[in-house]
Symmetry: C2
Subunit: 294 residues, 2 copies
């Protein structure tokens, strides 16, 4: 099978590595706006050959793993270029805009809107790792709008790399993911900003910060080029989550300033319950468990 990875970074590169494990005969072509990424991807064996858009006529599967603003610009053209038997899978963290964009595209049935809940705070081909998708959730939107044979082809591959599938409409996806992903990134970036602004002497941060701070601020290492268009495309939902977050922080601040420690305790006690929700996630993250030293 001829697979074209457009965007050979963390997600595209990791998908290529997994495909090679489960489909030894796969031939992987790379397309990337950055020539140095293509070179890295070639050298590390992530892709077998460089390619460009004119080669897409030979594609049987296209995996689009680029920032969501670029995805929206390129998807209509990609759909026009691929043959009838080719499925084009996107991986962006926003689904409403991209689904709206191609709703009336003559090749809509060649498109599968997906969002793998997988990644790290790193980016580029050097961040690609084997097994990134194992036991991770892959959200698929508007599955009924993809040709049945192409759904089948994509699902077989998703299953073979170990993903769990969940179907959602694009609006629900964007609303939910604003809470469990987009807001986390902003909270982490602004926490990093707050501490960096205060602690001009970085040596102090280094010495006093423990693994708790490192964990909370980890997402502030993420790529602004990837995240700015996500926030732009999901602006309304993200603003709503931010308003609620700021309101909760302000309420906590008020309780503290008024010495209402009973309520301060209660606020934390009620949220402790997140343990049971998170257990499900960490169970699927064997390396996270190690982190706790258990």
């Amino acid at each position: 099978m001829n697979v074209f990875i457009i965007g050979t970074g963390l997600i595209g590169g990791s998908f290529a590595l997994d495909l090679k494990q489960v489909m030894p005969k796969v031939k992987i072509f790379g397309i990337d706006a950055k020539e140095e990424h293509l070179q890295q991807a070639l050298e590390t064996g992530i892709i077998d050959a460089e390619a460009n858009f004119s080669d897409l006529c030979n594609a049987e599967l296209v995996y689009l793993a680029i920032p969501v603003d670029a995805a929206i610009k390129l998807l209509p053209e990609i759909l026009e270029l691929v043959p009838e038997n080719c499925v084009v899978i996107d991986t962006g963290s926003t689904k409403e805009k991209i689904c709206q964009l191609v709703a009336d595209h003559p090749k809509r049935r060649n498109f599968l809107a997906a969002h793998p809940i997988a990644g790290t705070e790193f980016s580029g081909p050097s961040a690609a790792i084997n097994g990134l998708f194992s036991k991770k959730t892959n959200i698929i939107c508007e599955v009924e709008k993809t040709a049945f044979k192409l759904q089948e082809k994509a699902l077989e591959i998703f299953h073979s790399v170990g993903m769990r599938i969940r179907y959602m409409d694009p609006a629900s996806h964007d609303r939910h993911i604003a809470y469990v992903s987009h807001l986390s990134h902003i909270s982490s970036f602004m926490l990093g900003k707050t501490v960096l602004e205060k602690e001009k002497n970085e040596r102090d941060i280094f010495d006093l910060a423990g693994s708790g701070f490192a964990s909370t601020v980890r997402l502030a290492k993420s790529s602004p080029a990837m995240w700015t268009p996500i926030f732009a495309q999901n602006k309304d939902n993200v603003l709503e989550t931010l308003d609620e977050y700021i309101s909760n922080l302000s309420h906590f601040r008020e309780l503290l300033s008024k010495d209402n420690f009973e309520e301060v305790f209660s606020e934390m006690d009620k949220t402790n319950h997140i343990k049971s929700v998170l257990n499900g996630i960490t169970e699927n993250e064997p390396l996270k468990k190690l982190e706790n030293g258990k």
Copy 2:
């Protein structure tokens, strides 16, 4: 050496486990307000025997690892009970109040104010782990107020369990730690609250949340009984950090609402720089590195 661990939880228990490794002849006595904790600590070999305050006359080292409100209540009495050659080390996350409290205590020179930057989000004797303190920073405040012989005794032990020492005055400690620890906990608790409130159907959180969310919200699993008195004792500093954090979040919200994506990008780009600060921390956390799959 007779060591008394007051509070046989994560910190006290882990310290006992490390002491047994580096001082095979140590005899460890446990004091805990919770009888079931003492039983667990005995059964798992964390302590050799239960004890109570009247036994403190035989102590050569007391390790006080209880919530900071309880520490403040008990420290003056503990100091009165211990013999001249005994060093009493506290481990609380606030240092100003406890140092003020015993400033004029006749046995001030038996006290060493310390704060090991080590821990996990878990608590109780079952959370105690070997090697928790290895390569971690131990902040010591007002070292000059501790008897020299007792400083020496404590430092030898800190070094033997692998800790790095950093000296600070209590006010600086509380101000800095508000930024790199206390604020992280509030940001994480309120993030957890925001998501839990919205997502009444928890199955949705579980399915859509990835390791990024788990990381950012990890500290929301922490013990409210431990954290409420910390926020109370460090109220002024914590309020200041919260005000700055809320202000940064509100500013980001405004940029987003006005479609100023150039500045949204810039806000994140400037904070990305936290990578270099955090590298120092993660280097000392081999298990954190694994988490990134590298």
